[in-house]
């Protein structure tokens, strides 16, 4: 197995009237070919910004992005277009990510037209038809418009577009969050089938814990721009080491009757990501916080094999 995407010390800051917003702060990770990295966190933790920065939809503030071993941190206009044929994105909201003035077939043909991959319009039609079959979209919808279709079908259009250029890497930004559960399962299964068939590598961004566990090989937990924990999907659910991960997973409502269930509640205010002071950003809400947590940034350490945690007190809390 080889590494397809590697990110080193990636930072993305936004200028706001109140100061610098640290949306993504010093993130490192690798994704192996054919695997899925799940990125989890609550709204405003920078997970979407991270995904967009990796594929150059946002320009990074600093850091390095490697794709298939090549440094793609800085790209010329021409190189960027070439890069974008290898990486694609599936968007959260299938209601707003499709141009309402284009029909289904036009939407799917668009990337093919931009890269002029088809020689004739018959070829193009054939290719669009094949893509529609691949994502399970009936051909009778070819001339329909997005607003005439339901959320599940629209998301299939989004997936067909993302697949059209045979990309290697797809950033999926909450691709099933806007869908009903029964449709959500259909789309998740489709995405897994496509991954197997085309050896796709996914970066799967979501706030839904059960979905991310289901689809990911590795999981990264983000809190206010920082990576707080990184491990294999099974491992992270078995050994929740960071206090935030513990709270996050405990808060997920489980659709089953569990006797004596008690909620573990977080108290305290969420720290502002604008010009943050040094110290752990979770310290204000952390039940285990000590003095050092308010003073120094915790480093990401490999606490167990392949299991990274950024917490000063991880050993004490978990009795390791």
């Amino acid at each position: 197995m080889s590494t397809l995407v590697e990110v080193k010390n990636l930072k993305k800051y936004f200028k706001t009237p109140r100061g610098l917003l640290h949306a993504v702060d010093d993130i490192n990770f690798k994704i192996e070919k054919g695997q899925t990295l799940g990125v989890v966190g609550e709204s405003g933790c920078g997970k979407s910004t991270l995904g967009r920065t990796v594929i150059h939809l946002h320009e990074r503030t600093s850091g390095q992005i490697l794709f298939d071993g090549k440094d793609v941190s800085d790209l010329s206009k021409h190189e960027l277009k070439e890069f974008r044929s290898h990486v694609q994105m599936i968007f959260q909201d299938p209601f707003s990510s499709l141009n309402p003035r284009m029909s289904v077939s036009q939407l799917i043909a668009e990337p093919l037209l931009i890269y002029k991959t088809s020689k004739s319009s018959a070829d193009l039609g054939k290719e669009v038809g094949r893509l529609m079959d691949t994502v399970g979209l009936a051909r009778r919808f070819a001339n329909s418009y997005p607003h005439e279709l339901d959320g599940g079908r629209r998301q299939r259009i989004g997936i067909a577009r993302a697949l059209s250029l045979n990309p290697e890497f797809i950033v999926c930004d909450e691709p099933v969050s806007a869908l009903d559960v029964s449709i959500q399962a259909q789309i998740l299964n489709l995405m897994q089938d496509l991954q197997d068939e085309f050896h796709l590598t996914y970066m799967f961004i979501t706030h839904n814990m059960s979905v991310v566990k289901h689809i990911s090989n590795n999981i990264m937990i983000m809190y206010l721009g920082n990576m707080v924990e990184f491990a294999g999907a099974e491992e992270i659910f078995k050994n929740r080491l960071h206090p935030y991960t513990k709270a996050l997973l405990a808060a997920v409502p489980i659709p089953a009757i569990i006797e004596g269930r008690k909620r573990q509640l977080l108290t305290g205010e969420i720290t502002s990501p604008i010009d943050p002071k040094p110290g752990c950003r979770f310290a204000a809400r952390c039940p285990y916080a000590t003095d050092i947590c308010h003073a120094e940034n915790p480093q990401l350490d490999e606490v167990l094999e392949g299991h990274f945690v950024a917490c000063h007190n991880v050993k004490e809390i978990n009795q390791l």
Partner: protein
């Protein structure tokens, strides 16, 4: 046996959309006992919100219209109330929490004023007393009373939802309808809000109708569950009935669609297909074309609503003693 606070009998609601008629709610029967919490679970377009708005008599007319049935609140038919009588009931007897806390608050009024306004609508007290009560209400939902003079944009999403809850509970209603109260919130905040709803329910003995698509949330808060599909209740029972013995094929499908945190499955087993178009509902069972166990008898007539164990109702022909 405790008294029924709410009874919905054979409710039908339709919306007209141009030439078509959307049959949003088709003969719903539900009862809610005093102090009980009922989870109404279904997908987008299943008729959950329409049912809630019917109870409040807030269906926009036109295009919507309640075409049949009655809604009894403490034995009185809300359908026969005048608009003035309904206004007294809304907020005072029955309150509703809407999904999106961002749009449910007036950005031009301080949150204290918004809570006080509801109190003054239903109780004859002075402005200062209402404000004092509003501050007390904010403390109840866990926000400092001193922040009453602040405006909605100064609060986070979770706090706004608490204020919405404070407004809903300000007049101590007997029935609270919560329409997806935590869907727009993050999980850690959702846990706080659910905890709050539960505490308040215990404290004031409020009955709760919780509308959601999330079976997890229902398991945490409710004691009874009703599953709604295409405007019909397809299964109804206690939490134990539904979660340990789900019987309607749709309910089983819903559980199969959710990835389980505690088990690993390689593939999910989703329900194939889509909910039928509510303007063209098929004859017979609305779930028939997505159902793996459907047979010829499912395609005609009204599906029987069978009690398969005491208090556990399923709308499926499979349980009516007919062979499929």
């Amino acid at each position: 046996m405790s008294q029924n606070i709410l009874e919905i009998k054979d409710l039908f609601v339709q919306y007209s959309a141009g030439k078509d008629t959307v049959r949003a709610v088709n003969g719903i029967n539900l009862t809610l006992e005093e102090g009980e919490s009922l989870g109404l679970v279904g997908e987008t377009g299943a008729g959950k919100t329409t049912t809630a708005l019917s109870i409040m008599r807030l269906i926009p007319n036109p295009p919507g219209k309640i075409t049949g049935g009655e809604i009894l609140y403490r034995g009185e038919n809300l359908m026969e109330k005048s608009e003035a009588e309904m206004r007294k009931i809304r907020g005072h007897e029955i309150s509703m929490i809407f999904q999106d806390p961002m749009t449910a608050l007036n950005p031009m009024l301080s949150v204290g004023d918004q809570i006080a306004e509801v109190i003054r609508l239903h109780e004859k007290i002075s402005r200062a007393d209402a404000m004092r009560k509003a501050c007390a209400m904010m403390e109840v939902v866990g926000i400092e009373g001193g922040r009453a003079g602040e405006y909605p944009h100064q609060f986070s999403g979770g706090m706004k939802q608490r204020i919405v809850i404070a407004i809903a509970l300000a007049c101590n209603p007997s029935l609270l309808i919560a329409d997806e109260p935590t869907t727009a919130l993050d999980v850690t905040i959702q846990a706080q809000v659910l905890e709050l709803i539960e505490q308040l329910k215990r404290k004031f003995n409020t009955s709760l109708l919780l509308i959601t698509h999330d079976l997890g949330v229902v398991a945490e808060v409710c004691s009874k569950v009703a599953i709604i599909y295409a405007g019909e209740i397809v299964e109804y029972g206690t939490l134990k009935h539904i979660y340990e013995n789900p019987s309607h094929p749709y309910t089983i499908g819903l559980f199969g669609s959710i990835p389980n945190l505690n088990e690993t499955v390689h593939r999910l087993s989703p329900i194939p297909g889509l909910m039928p178009d509510p303007t063209k509902l098929p004859d017979g069972c609305a779930f028939e074309e997505r159902c793996s166990q459907a047979c010829e008898a499912c395609g005609k007539g009204v599906m029987p609503y069978v009690e398969i164990e005491p208090g556990h109702m399923v709308r499926c022909i499979k349980f009516a003693g007919k062979e499929c």
